[in-house]
Symmetry: C2
Subunit: 352 residues, 2 copies
């Protein structure tokens, strides 16, 4: 960082040891104050951090040619792989698989039917080989056909106890501290932060407020239909139906943003091909627009995956070479987890 210019006049004065000591103390206390005032302490200085700071400054400083009125300040964040760990498997898929025994208990005839039979066998290798169609059957069986309040209670229960194997932490603690800082910093500057996820809208809403400070109504996700009906006592309730209403991936992201928000974001954050259209759509707006893409290139502290820069391809969150090239061409900013973040999780100690 450049030293604050306020110190420069001192050095034009006659040099002596006392001045040197005073200047040294001043530097110490000012850099201490800078650290305390730094809204992004988990970010190393570099183009990614500078892009965020510059964007906020130019869109929120009154009189700036790129000033954005508060009502229009919208920032959208993909979740899996952008706000929290997605590798080697999405947390919501783990949730669905772990709910299978309860579903089979309620409908014993499923025990002998695939893909439920494989899941009940506990054979990890066989489960990992389930096809997308089979996974969708599991998703439909475990996430639909129930009252929305019952769904919320079950998801809440799982999220408050289930832990990730690698870190032995709750899934909701596997959020990236640097991204939490960006959300907080944007909100402190009048931005409404939205999660725009390919994951299930109802699932993410269960914890979005507690984990990210994002209220339920600011979660846009893949959503099924619900059906209004009445219990025997006449009380109305909503049932989750196995019919897809909004596939919030790829082009579905800007379409979902139009449906649920009705404004083009000024800033968008993603990490994979499923976020491409959201990043394009955001960056194509007029004025200052910030599109950022997280590169998972830190095998030691988290994971390294995606074929960009020679990293191995995986099934989840693919940042392809084509997407990486588009980022360069369109002026999106690539965030290197390895280089740009000095700390990844809140439960870990910071490192410089």
């Amino acid at each position: 960082m450049n030293k604050p210019s306020i110190l420069k006049p001192h050095f034009t004065m006659r040099f002596n040891a006392a001045w040197l000591v005073l200047a040294f103390i001043a530097c110490l206390s000012i850099s201490g104050a800078q650290a305390a005032d730094d809204p992004l302490p988990s970010w190393n200085d570099g183009p990614a951090k500078q892009a965020i700071l510059a964007f906020v400054k130019e869109t929120t400083t009154p009189g700036s040619p790129k000033f954005v009125p508060p009502a229009e300040r919208i920032a959208t964040f993909d979740q899996d792989g952008t706000l929290w760990v997605e590798h080697p498997v999405y947390s919501q898929v783990v949730y669905c698989l772990e709910r299978v025994p309860a579903v089979v208990k309620a409908k014993p005839e499923l025990a002998s039917q695939e893909p439920f039979k494989t899941v009940m066998s506990g054979d990890r290798e066989a489960i990992a080989k389930l096809s997308m169609d089979q996974l969708l059957k599991i998703v439909a069986a475990t996430l639909t056909g129930m009252d929305v309040d019952a769904f919320n209670a079950e998801a809440e229960q799982w999220l408050s106890t289930a832990k990730n194997a690698r870190w032995d932490q709750l899934y909701t603690d596997l959020t990236y501290l640097p991204m939490q800082e960006v959300m907080e910093y944007l909100r402190a500057n009048g931005y409404k932060t939205y999660i725009v996820t390919g994951g299930g809208q109802d699932f993410v809403r269960v914890y979005s407020e507690r984990v990210y400070g994002v209220p339920r109504e600011q979660v846009v996700g893949t959503a099924g239909e619900t059906k209004y009906g009445y219990r025997k006592d006449g009380t109305p309730f909503l049932t989750k139906e196995p019919k897809l209403l909004l596939d919030n991936n790829d082009a579905g992201k800007p379409e979902g943003i139009h449906l649920m928000i009705g404004r083009r974001p000024y800033a968008a954050f993603g990490n994979s091909t499923g976020d491409r259209q959201m990043l394009e759509y955001t960056k194509a707006g007029d004025g200052a627009r910030l599109s950022m893409m997280l590169l998972h290139d830190d095998a030691k502290r988290e994971y390294a995956y995606g074929p960009a820069q020679g990293l191995p391809d995986t099934k989840v969150g693919t940042l392809t070479q084509a997407l990486y090239d588009e980022a360069q061409k369109q002026g999106w900013i690539v965030i290197s987890m390895k280089t740009d973040w000095n700390r990844i999780f809140a439960f870990e100690e910071g490192q410089d």
Copy 2:
């Protein structure tokens, strides 16, 4: 209203003429202050006004057994017939009919096809007899097949110039002042106010912020799909498609609320059979819930319609006898426009 108790000690002092004059002046200035503090000055005192005041007090006073945390304070308002005039025809239908000449100019082959031929004839009686299917054809032709930004610009242009015949006012000035006061009062007490309308979501979003103080993202309405695509220069854009995604009427209202907000409202306001499920769903929640229904019973200042209480039936905004009976049974509060409102529009002088 009770006089403030602070005055009482004065009357225990020795009575004399000077005290009487002082007390009289104090009463005058205090009742002036009370009028200024009334959050609902266009409402006459009565059960409807009292229900609103009591609801806000018991849900927002810390320590109240029915206190609602700020994040959960959601209030939903139907628009047509609840927030603004819907009789004798919805403003958006007028908009669609008035856009027909431009559509026919762009596609001249439509001039000889029904229902466009009838609309172009200008024959008001024939237009009034168009079937629902024919009206939907007009809606599809005038509201879809265009870029969302072009749609916004056209709707904005119409709304800033088109006037209602009876009052010679812009449609956006035909909003009910007492309902504006309720929205403002709820917001001042930490409620997020949403419009939940059977009308077109994109159409209402054009003016919701300016007219009601409701941001675009807090409008839930009937919505079609959009389609993400690219212009010849590679710029991405969204096109409004003629395919219905969310029919935000009847059971579609609680379903739309779940999709777009994800929380059950604590207060809901409607006026017709299309609002029944929203009012039911709101009232069925636990704690304090307020469901209110506006009865159009003021033929002189606005309109009187709906078969409840012997008013004539109409095509729009029907408050049926069955709905009126359900209101009584479920504890919804019926607002009588004639009795409860001392003023209807901001452009008119107040009357007591």
